[in-house]
Symmetry: D2
Subunit: 308 residues, 4 copies
Amino acid sequence: MTNATDYQNIFREIVSEFKIADDCGEVATYIPELGKVDPEKLGIHLTTVQKFHYSFGDSNDKFSIQSIAKVLSLTLALKIMGKDIWKRVGVEPSGSAFNSLVQLEYEKGIPRNPFINAGAIVICDILVTCLNNPKLELLEFIRKTSGVESIDYSSKIADSEKLTGFRNYALTYFMKDFGNIYNEVEPVLDLYFHLCSIEMSCKELAQAFLFLASGGVNPITNETVISPRRTKRINSIMQMCGFYDEAGEFAFRTGLPGKSGVGGGIVAIHPGKYSIAVWSPKLNINGNSYKGMKVLEAVTTKTMSSIF
Amino acid sequence: MTNATDYQNIFREIVSEFKIADDCGEVATYIPELGKVDPEKLGIHLTTVQKFHYSFGDSNDKFSIQSIAKVLSLTLALKIMGKDIWKRVGVEPSGSAFNSLVQLEYEKGIPRNPFINAGAIVICDILVTCLNNPKLELLEFIRKTSGVESIDYSSKIADSEKLTGFRNYALTYFMKDFGNIYNEVEPVLDLYFHLCSIEMSCKELAQAFLFLASGGVNPITNETVISPRRTKRINSIMQMCGFYDEAGEFAFRTGLPGKSGVGGGIVAIHPGKYSIAVWSPKLNINGNSYKGMKVLEAVTTKTMSSIF
Amino acid sequence: MTNATDYQNIFREIVSEFKIADDCGEVATYIPELGKVDPEKLGIHLTTVQKFHYSFGDSNDKFSIQSIAKVLSLTLALKIMGKDIWKRVGVEPSGSAFNSLVQLEYEKGIPRNPFINAGAIVICDILVTCLNNPKLELLEFIRKTSGVESIDYSSKIADSEKLTGFRNYALTYFMKDFGNIYNEVEPVLDLYFHLCSIEMSCKELAQAFLFLASGGVNPITNETVISPRRTKRINSIMQMCGFYDEAGEFAFRTGLPGKSGVGGGIVAIHPGKYSIAVWSPKLNINGNSYKGMKVLEAVTTKTMSSIF
Amino acid sequence: MTNATDYQNIFREIVSEFKIADDCGEVATYIPELGKVDPEKLGIHLTTVQKFHYSFGDSNDKFSIQSIAKVLSLTLALKIMGKDIWKRVGVEPSGSAFNSLVQLEYEKGIPRNPFINAGAIVICDILVTCLNNPKLELLEFIRKTSGVESIDYSSKIADSEKLTGFRNYALTYFMKDFGNIYNEVEPVLDLYFHLCSIEMSCKELAQAFLFLASGGVNPITNETVISPRRTKRINSIMQMCGFYDEAGEFAFRTGLPGKSGVGGGIVAIHPGKYSIAVWSPKLNINGNSYKGMKVLEAVTTKTMSSIF
């Protein structure tokens, strides 16, 4: 493991390599709001369990974290309900997106894992059942977990998601037909669309996910978020299911559990060491940040922190 | 990390706990030969990269390693052909078995990974193309990798596999229709059925897989099996795809890359530390050794060696 | 072709045979309202293009015609929009129900035919676009086509359908995601649920479908419902797609185009000769009236009116 | 129904219309032998149950009847085994080709109908079980049914089919895995490939299928091929399943049961009236003869013989 100074140098090296590198990918545009972001943005933030911070570029810019937030809603559901949630959602990778509906039918409405849309919606259904004011309480949980009070939903993004979210409605009604959605569809999807609209900076993300690098306790806030065993559970699900149809490639390249979002953000965890968040809006064909994947591969290679 | 003595004590603790534990699962019987094994067998062998050995029970009994051998054929193909093999087989988990044919059709005959049957068959096709005497050369490679000359195929098992291997014939012809099998079907499946018939003891398995714990070099034989980068690749594929429809569960419980076989064997790797092989013939409903999974979970929990 | 008297005798023969026959099947109960019907009801009504009527049993009792109504909504959409509707729904049989969602995904939201739920919903979407007051105008069309003013929706059944119609919501949102639903989901499904709730007697049904036996003109009302070519189109779709997963069996047994509903009704058409409606609430495992299928087979066998 | 003279005039009219019509489609080339045919060939032959013959163009040229032969193998299997064959193959349409494997898996190796490849292969398996010399006895049956001694297999086509028939091997092994193929794969597919290689002219085809227009008896040879009830069964299966993914369209356009082959041939039956064979090698995108479909539509329209 490298010492403190190295990270900053490594970031510099990586970024200077990128200056001359190819510049591929496309910004997500399925939601008009997402398409408005500056495609050249690049932010990196790494926080160690010893509370050292290393950052580069636009690491304090807020962006739409999208699916990365599904790790936080899962954490809250697991904290409240415990292992009973595994009766309603699995922990296995899902194969290609094409199969999602087939698989959902074949497996009687039980989504393969909490990070595919169907699974994250079931988690929202659980939260709607357990919480009095789900949107507010989820937000408070995320603020407390990260120690950042300014984290908030983007109502523009949430509205945009709702307007184009026909497939998510289809998935939800389909699972309701199988009896795996207990509440009305509207409040469940309202929570889901808000969840996906959360905006955070790289720094805030790294800080919010630091508990996963340190056995469930955020060393900055000293807040116990969740037990060590459940921390392990969440990390293993991120490892297996965090990158859509590119989980295996990411496992090889980076060797760390992580989660990406179509806003161009990626968070990765080195258990016992650090959490890192990268943001670059252009996506590869699998919907993961093109440069973000490269940065994380370079960081773990140069610091030899792959778990494999 | 625990010191040398602990492993032996840990094995003793684990096994004494099992004496009073439930005794579930069923021995695989789809091949009559497999059904003849004593269901009560239990062997454990752990070898560290410092060449210390720790073992328990029937760790020197040979058994049918079945799909565990797919890691070794992949290693040989990767050594010979390099990354070109990824044009013909993927590195992503495959979802449920039910979807395998659908997915193979949807992805035009490219199997999701080298550990599902279709993928292992493509690897055999590659070896049939590249080697003069594939069966002999594969065996020699495995003997050299492990440093154990007595490793051999079981012709009884290979014949038994062939007689009941209709689905494997179907998969192979299906991929040939897509142009992803270059040779005649018979020699490819002959190699595949022999691959699955290899017999090894826990000790031999732990030794054969030790290179994956030490950057591609077997510290016992000093043989360089494969490069560090490809070692990482193989470990990440084991992590993602090594346990059929239970990869996520295994990742959580054990936190190590590994591979199981329907003979009741499991191998797991702690990169930089050790390789471990466990054998207990009774399988859980996902086709993985019931006790083997429990032993590995107990070992990694008691030694705190989960990578998550 | 038999003469007038025969039908009445044939009905008598058939029914007396049934008295001693097995009495299989189950009344549909997925909607509570449907489960309240007397399972022993049996009605038959045959109307010839020469306007002779033959009836038996409970042929004047109103019952929930359910999916049979999809023929009438298709007729109205075809009358209004013409062949452009075939850009949005196909004319081919759909294979097993299990595949419906897969197929809908594979075929980009274009349902295979207008009688599977997805297809009937697209037809409703077309009607919602073209009509000012879709529910009222559809009802008026059906009243005019049949010459029966008393035909009406059952608001109890429509409400019941809506309360349990999660899968229909899923299908509709799924197609909307593919761009094949132009209106809001609610008004489209409101029309669909009302369509399925229509109540008619066997006599009314036979009369409403008589135009399909006489080139598009109802000989009783002299109303030209649709052109001869489109009559042929509707009959051929009924032949291919009218009986869920039992279309082939029905084609063999009865040899006539027809349509069934889960309320236990079946209508069949002998082009140039007659229309016939049968009602018996107990359904076979494919969801078609157990006795209704038997009656129609007996009628066409005894009158040698199979088209094959 | 038109009188005798009309058919000849109708053929003339239709063909003269085609002279100025578009000339679409492509000759099948997946088997090199099929690609060698003259794409401009056009033959028509109609035989009435009163034994009148009407023909046009290349109606005496032999061509590869391909899948049309599946009707004859089905007839023989039904004659020998009776309704027990329906335990091993269904009578329902199959939906899109894409789903064939999914459906075969879902329905545990029971093909949907005897005209999709999997179903025709099961029929061949039945014949291999029941006959001493399947290839010879099938050929003799076809010669006797048609009254034409010169009908024969094309060994060139059969060899060509075998060399490229990987998907058929895949299907057969897949069904064998489910227990629905009783014999070795090779003899079953040998019969299947020979079946598909049969060569006949339009005249011979019309004559061979005439029994289906006349209750199971060939009026030319006075040979009782099969019972009236089974004739009805075969006609209904042709109606539902005879045209791949265009069965519904053909039912509408032609209104007759029929069967096509990728050699460009189509046979259709007007029960009680006539059988007709058309041959034009260029295929539409669904694999059915482009002109053949047009000719049959024109014939049934001009003679008003649609059964709908």
